[in-house]
Amino acid sequence: MVADKAGPAGPTGLIGAGGLPDWGVGIGWRPEIAGYIDGLPGLKFVEVVAEAIDEHLPIPAALKALRDRGVAVVPHGTRLSIGGADPIEPDRLRQFVAAAHRLEAPLASEHIAFVRAGGVEAGHLLPLPRTREAVDAVVANTRLVQQELDIPFALEPIAAIFDWPEDELTEGQFISEILERTGALLLLDVANVYANAINRGEPPSGLFDAVPLDRVAYVHVAGGSMHEGVYHDTHTDPVPPEVFDLVEALCDRHRPPALMLERDGHYPPAGQLTVELDGIATASGYPPVTPAGP
């Protein structure tokens, strides 16, 4: 039933996690690079920030054109605050679900994080303490989303600049327990895995052995940079070679059905986006989605 909504199956026709097709290489759709994305002949999926789909406005024409040519569009929430101690605000949940319906999305995603507390907006995704109490909060809010959503839902562990003193579980245990209790899929951000490993002084590929890789719905690949001795997952810098190496290491263990480039500002010339998309294709073994070179 899910496959019916998912648009064309991937090049191999394989079905990945949650019955989703094998989409290969995709990209985060942003208005600033809509023209570039429109010119990607092999593209089978894009992700769009869910809150950018304004319920009072038409879907952006360039995004609708992609949808009409069979490219799957995955809404990616950033403001539900799944890890907040309080239940998700009903209006935000309603808008999230409405965006998924309007986009005829085969899949939707959000973060394992909180973005507000005590009535104050943090303005960014904040890490949770890895405690049983936080697992319970994530599980309760994920179930609220799943009750309203008739498509698979994937959760993304975030990049953390700091940790909480009350941590009881390893990151692998924390993620695995949430997935097991909710049945949610995993949106694995390889750049976040890299950032956390650098900032905690741990080996980056360690997490790959600690989470269920067969539950990965898709993968984020993004750039970042070092400031004040800390690696920041900026999405506005080039993807470092170490992150491409991690993509390869992940695919050697278990190749996910889809991987995408995430860029959120300081947009580079088209050539640089092409290099990074082709880099993901090379590291994963999926076919390139960019136009063939001269």
Binding site: E121, A122, G123, A134, I161, E166
Partner: protein, 146 residues
């Protein structure tokens, strides 16, 4: 302490200059707070391009000084509140004056609750007047400057 209380403590420390919650690394929280301000400045600059451009190389410093102990109210209101404050002390760059006037002509904002579209209004700007009818803004007088 409950998860809700700990989360509220952390958000207050990162956005409103509240004390570092017990047991947390003050150095890392400081880095996180500066990263948050930098990201927020970028979002406000996208919504208020002439405010940021008018301040030029001072933009990030001016924004960080203003926003350091103020949680965000969204980029529209953050930029609006900052522009009004700068205007109040005659520190708003000229191109940002025009941007503010145009936004004030289209929306009604009391500084405390979300802005609402203005149906009808007229506002004086340096070189003419802005007339708002049913949400559309027209310039009366010299029209080559907006």
């Amino acid at each position: 302490m409950s998860l809700a209380a700990r989360q509220a403590e952390l958000v207050a420390a990162l956005t409103a200059g509240a004390p570092v919650p017990a047991g947390m690394d003050p150095v890392r929280l400081g880095i996180a707070a500066r990263a948050l301000l930098y990201k927020r400045a970028g979002e406000v600059a996208r919504r208020w391009p002439l405010l940021a451009a008018g301040l030029g190389p001072d933009w990030h410093r001016v924004f960080a000084e203003w926003a350091g102990a103020r949680p965000t109210a969204g980029s529209l209101r953050d930029g609006w509140d900052l522009a009004r404050e700068l205007q109040g002390r005659a520190a708003l760059p000229e191109i940002a004056e025009r941007e503010l006037a145009l936004v004030e002509a289209r929306w009604r904002y009391d500084g405390r609750t979300p802005p609402r579209p203005r149906r009808l209004g007229i506002r004086r700007v340096a070189d003419g007047r802005l007339l708002t009818i049913s949400g559309r803004v027209m310039v009366i007088g010299r029209s080559d400057s907006l």
